[in-house]
Amino acid sequence: MAVGDLKSNNYCDFIVDRDQERCIQCQVCVRQCPYGTNIYKEADNIVVSDFSLCTGCHRCEAMCPTGCITIRRNTSEFREHFNWKAADIKNVYKQAATGGVLLTGIGCDKDYPIYWDHILLDACQVTNPSIDPLREPMELRTFLGRKPDTLEFEEKAGKISLKTELAPQLVCEIPILFSAMSYGAVNLNFCEALARAAEASGTYYNTGEGGLHRTLFKYGKNTIVQVASGRFGVDKAYLDAGVAIEIKIGQGAKPGIGGHLPGEKVGKEVSLTRMIPIGTDALSPAPHHDIYSIEDLRQLIYALKEATDYTKPVSVKISAVHNAAAIASGIVRAGADIVAIDGVRGGTGAAPTMIRDNVGIPIELALAAVDQRLRDEGIRNQASIIAAGGFRNSSDIIKAIALGADAVYIGTPAMIAVGCTVCQKCYTGKCPWGITTNDPYLAKRLNPDIGTEQLTNLLKAWAREIKEFMGAMGINAIESIRGNRERLRGVNLSERELKILGIKHAGE
């Protein structure tokens, strides 16, 4: 024991503020906290809390039948210092005590500019009429996949038909897909809810790199199966099960970093699904060991296409890094049908904190750059772009589409929809909301029936709002706003930023 160890008790992040007048000692909070924060003292018939264990997940607060709990920030403050914020000081304490890498979950929580909040949308006034989405049909349907350079038609017996053979497409009824979250990192209940919500909403979810649990094969027509550097759970049946294949090169939360699912989390079902022995660590290497060039990537893309008879679009997902535009160009030229770009705010189940918070670039800039580059090179039609990493609401999404995205991936909002409070402790495997945990006691907290409804509702609500935006802009098909940066204006942005985003400043 060192003073450093003691500090955790007093320098804790949160206070479980319990109004003892209102506490009825029902112990719901005791049973609900997986970290053991709340403790019932039988002798005194009182419930108390060990603040040092609280992660600020709010589970106890949400479940308390008398509302006696409020989770507050610990107001104990270090002397203010612009360079040395409390979090920095505590991180040093933690590492001095453990010698370990700082771990975290969810996406980057640093205050880098959120460009969505500096971009405004246009609307119609007088000269071109706006449309009422409640009266007029609005088209959100989106096709993801390679589009032909030209269209050829042929005439047979007076009938004109398309001669050009179209590449396979994903048909999304809304331009929002659930991003890759692997079984293992999240539990089967959440996977099931994602799959069912995708089915109900006419969109897709992504298996992530954890394989496809046998009970989820039936949702195949709404499934994108991922092939990542660990190749977990990849076989012919897996590739055939989904309607698209995604090669994961990187993810926004940890560009250039591999993955590590600890052996304790590899129980029977995860083991069967990932096709690895029970209890072994599932290590995803940082690179694909068979990909060291665009040419290598092309080989994998075509190997997968070959394996599935060219019936499914192949997507390649990368983290938004400095030269994302050039890489994307290479990916398209390597034969990918979809390029997915995950920005710096993209989420994760576990990542080194320093990597999460300091590597990569915001999705807004990466998206604008990639879209522009592909246009400039005349190959924009050859692949669809899915933007990912930090979307919070429908306006972020329609702005992304106007910036050039065909569709977006959402991960964190999907978790929030089923209860996540962004406590960022996914890596502990003890998610109190039953999302990023395989502990059967905790995983039950996510009832797939309820989760499906919540996710479906979220997509429905956002689709409605997107239609409102479209109506205001006087357009009735999402195609008309896609890449239409003329309908965007920047505020409080520098010339350079405006240039990269390819938008005018407000007032111009």
Binding site: R31, K444, R445
Partner: protein, 149 residues
């Protein structure tokens, strides 16, 4: 008749069903008063747990209720086949024959040493409510109030 059915896979062992049941059957139906009552009203729902598994058990209101067969005073009764099995607390003398007979362990002793009050305590499906309190409060849809034939 409509009965309460638990869904084990969704039960998260929070025991809010027990809290709601206790409050509903307390004199004041006020959660703060109900928990200060001495002795405290018993919950008629009981959450069983075994490792990660848990399940909320209430009276099944059996078609051929063994508790009614066993009751020596006629306190355990039901109006007709479609009605809940109810214990008449005035008639019950606490002989615990119903506890002996109930294969679900859904009946409990309600004993106050002080005034020799002893009666059986069990689910009455919350008369006066459209949905029993336990079902209504369950935050994870682990309890259903349905007519399953």
């Amino acid at each position: 008749m409509k009965r309460v059915y638990p869904k084990e896979d969704a039960c998260i062992n929070c025991k809010l069903c027990e809290v709601a049941c206790l409050v509903e059957h307390s004199e004041t139906k006020d959660i703060f008063k109900a928990y200060r009552d001495v002795p405290r009203t018993l919950s008629k729902a009981l959450v069983e747990e075994d490792g990660p598994n848990s399940i909320s058990i209430q009276c099944r209101h059996c078609t051929d209720a063994p508790c009614i067969d066993a009751c020596i005073t006629g306190a355990m009764q039901r109006q007709d086949d479609e009605s809940p099995v109810i214990v008449d607390r005035e008639k019950c003398v606490g002989c615990w024959m119903c506890i002996m007979a109930c294969p679900y362990g859904a009946i409990q002793m309600d004993v106050r040493k002080k005034d020799k009050h002893k009666v059986s305590s069990k689910c009455d499906l919350c008369p006066g409510r459209t949905m029993p309190a336990c079902v209504e409060i369950c935050p994870n849809r682990a309890l259903f109030f349905e007519d399953r034939g």
